[in-house]
Amino acid sequence: MKKLYANLHPVWALALLVMRRQWRSGLWLLLAALLAAGIAGLRLAIQGDGTLAGMARIWLSYSIAWTSFLLSAATLAIAASSISLENAACRLQLVRVKPVAAAQIWIGNWLGLMLINAVLLGIAGAALGAGVWHFNRAHRQPASELAALRNTLLTAQISLPAIALSNQPASGPSGLTVNPGGVGRWRITLPDTVLEKRPGGLQFEFITARPDQTAAIPMVWTAGLSGKRRPLSFEVSAPPRKPSRLDLPADFLQPGCTIEITCANRHPDTTTALLFPHQNGVTVLAPAGGFAGNLLRAGLIIFARLSFLAALGMTAGAAFSFPVALLLAGAMPLLDGLNRFRYTAGQHWVRWAFQDDAASWIARTLDLAVAAASEIVRLLMPALGRFNPVDLLTGGRLIPWAAAGQAGIVLCFYAALLAGAGAWLLARRQLGMAEI
């Protein structure tokens, strides 16, 4: 224990040193002011879709994006500069001559930065929570608007795929086909974690045999608890290839209940069959949590991302001098983001630019080079786009603890690898010489 304390003592001391330095520089205040100004300014600047719930969701989405962007950029900049600038200003030598290991210096700086991030993220989270509370207290809004806000944003729902009944002759491996005049059937048993007396939803998505079909298809949906009551009925027209949603009332969904769902295809054209995919053809959106818990888990995911970015910046700073370190640290997340489009581009990254001469050796070589760089980035980076809680949070979907935990484990694993690399580089780095 004493040994652990002895090892941790310089780490904490360095972390507090970093925090004190940032406090004195006024950076905390500047970032906190920018966060508050952005969150409040967005409330005034953005246009909603005309509904209270829509406005709240857009504001929340943009505010989280702004918070995430600002803290990420600041984290990268501070992390990339912390070691490299200390080295350039010959302050690092003062620490290195003390009995403090390079790993302790690296971790101390990283910890100090993450403590700053935790405080700023806490401030942003409080501002976001207060903003949503303010939306929820909008007394001048009609009750239906407030109810829509509570049902969509303030209730975290889980999406549960309904199972197409196997005795349907038209049920195939790709999904359930419902012919004109026919009826498709699904069944689902809700888990016990579903909250009672909260409204839910029935979401469906289908395709038709005709790709040019864009007009809405008339259909009748029913949803009923097996053998208990008259089913709910919805006569709707819904377009293909787009998710459509039907609202289920608060007294309908119960934990552990089994729901029977049917869909009657009322299209007059006898060739317009509807295909509901197994995976997302028909899903029940059941309430399983509240907004506060969702916001907390979203904050943890963002914090995990920041911890990785801090580690990236620190390691870059340990390897290179300031501007190079910042450029490298900034380029990696950017390339990681661009990597998401690698399959969209058909892996022909450069060839399209050559137009008439797409088969030239220059084009092919450049394509190979870019593809190789893309692959390297893919291996080095943890695909940060996977850990984005904004869509789930603003869409009123439950962010499970498992998702937050997964983000923490994956990103901390990458951060630990970077920590090892950073400490190794720092230990071997030639310290800067003071200019006289």
Partner: protein
């Protein structure tokens, strides 16, 4: 290291380059301004927009691309809440790119609205499309015929036509808004310009009271609760532009189409409390509709305009026949065969009208079917008033026959809901309301300023 004083020459060079750029800009702008398509940006552009476009410089294109990508991505996933905001930003970054305005307005009014099952949700998105064009696009591109035509199209087709299953809801909401604004079908044009109503019409709906009065004087009386009237207003603004500008021809075409529509549907009986929304022909608009066709043909002598005119004359003759206005119907038919004779020979008017009424009604537009049924109902009341009960019963029977035949040709519930006729009892009641002197007991808004009359 060189002293910074050694780079003093960079400062005059900078000023020289700036002066050169200013001189060059004037030379570039001069030929552009001479082109008829060129619209100078408005003087009172919002400072935030000027700052954004200037500050972004060459990165404006990249920013627009990113916003487009996000908009398309969100729409593919049916996450459309943000699209109003994104459309606003994209169009603000490309304010004089009319295709972009038109696309986003159309996207919101057509593609996004049908993603919702609730008619009120759909109406909200249709309004977003209208507002984008009316309040923003036409601010940055005043009197641009393409944008005026697109705006008119949303009224003419999205609200006025029957493609959307919620079209009746849109029509009712528009009629409610206009009733709240103008107090009824026809405002008092003499006092409108100086009243608070006129100010609200100008500021909220961008309707110029003087323009409304002029349109009503030349082509009215028009009912502002009807979508066709709004389409007329906006397409008429486009007609006032230079003929050479793109979009003017389409504005002329839309204008005569909407005059045809006003003739077929220009008289509205609207009582939201009783759920009544019935638009029937306004026969008095026939000369104005003919004038709109003649003007379009005079300006653009196109075969398609002649064809549309011939079809309208034939259709109007049948409608007049149904309303019992035989002399006018025959006169119109004579005009038709004189101007556009059939090489195979034209039938007599009565034979032509009978063939139209006894043929297949499945392809007959809903508006025409309403006109036919309402015409015979009105004729029946006229005969009843003249003391001809047998004739009245005969024409009423014809109205019922057409109603049933048309409704039987609707193949599904959705088809019936979208394109079906109002209940026959409602149509009979509405015809009686029009025939009788209007009174508050009628419950409807038949007291629209027109004198009591049969028809």
């Amino acid at each position: 290291m060189k002293s910074s004083r050694q780079h003093w020459w960079l400062i005059p060079l900078l000023f020289l380059l700036l002066a050169g750029a200013a001189f060059w800009r004037a030379r570039v702008m001069q030929p552009r301004a001479a082109r008829p398509q060129f619209q100078p940006p408005p003087e009172d552009m919002p400072p935030a927009l000027i700052f954004t476009t200037v500050a972004l410089g060459g990165f404006r294109g990249i920013m627009v691309d990113l916003l487009w990508m996000r908009a398309i991505h969100l729409q593919e996933e049916a996450r459309v809440l943000e699209l109003v905001q994104l459309s606003d930003w994209i169009t603000a970054l490309e304010p004089q790119f009319t295709t972009v305005w038109a696309f986003h307005a159309w996207n919101m009014a057509y593609n996004i609205s049908i993603m919702f099952t609730d008619p009120e949700d759909r109406w909200r998105w249709v309004r977003h499309g209208i507002r984008l064009l009316r309040d923003r696009a036409l601010f940055f591109n005043p009197r641009h015929p393409v944008l005026l035509r697109e705006l008119g199209w949303l009224y003419q087709h999205k609200i006025g036509y029957v493609m959307d299953s919620a079209h009746r809801h849109y029509k009712i909401r528009l009629a409610e808004e206009m009733t709240a604004l103008l107090g009824g079908a026809h405002p008092d044009y003499a006092s409108l310009a100086d009243s608070s109503t006129g100010e609200r019409a100008r500021s909220v709906y961008k309707l110029d009271p003087a323009g409304m009065a002029a349109l009503d004087r030349d082509y009215g009386p028009l009912d502002w609760r009807l979508p066709a009237t709004h389409a007329l207003y906006w397409s008429h603004q486009g007609r006032l532009a230079d003929t050479m500008q793109p979009g003017v021809r389409a504005c002329y075409q839309m204008f005569f189409q909407c005059m045809d529509e006003s003739f077929r549907h220009g008289r509205l009986q609207f009582n939201p409390a009783a759920g009544q929304y019935l638009a029937t022909p306004a026969l008095e608009l026939l000369p104005r509709a003919i004038r709109a066709h003649e003007e379009a043909i005079q300006r653009f002598d196109l075969p398609v305009f002649h064809l549309a005119y011939a079809n309208f004359l034939a259709e109007a003759a049948v409608v007049l026949y149904c309303y019992g206005e035989l002399p006018r119907a025959r006169e119109l038919y004579a005009t038709l065969i004189a101007r556009y004779p059939n090489p195979q020979g034209d039938p007599e008017f009565e034979a032509f009208a009978e063939s139209c009424l006894t043929g297949d009604l499945s392809e007959t537009p809903r508006e025409d079917a309403i006109a036919l049924v309402d015409g015979f109902l009105a004729q029946s009341l006229l005969r009843e008033a003249r003391g001809d009960p047998a004739g009245a019963a005969e024409t009423a029977g014809l109205a019922r026959k057409i109603w049933h035949k048309f409704m039987q040709s609707r193949v599904s519930d959705d088809h019936r809901q979208r394109t079906g006729l109002p209940p026959l009892e409602e149509m009979e009641r509405a015809a009686r309301q029009r025939a009788a002197p209007a009174s508050p007991a009628d419950g409807g808004t038949a007291a629209d300023g027109t004198p009591p009359r049969i028809l």
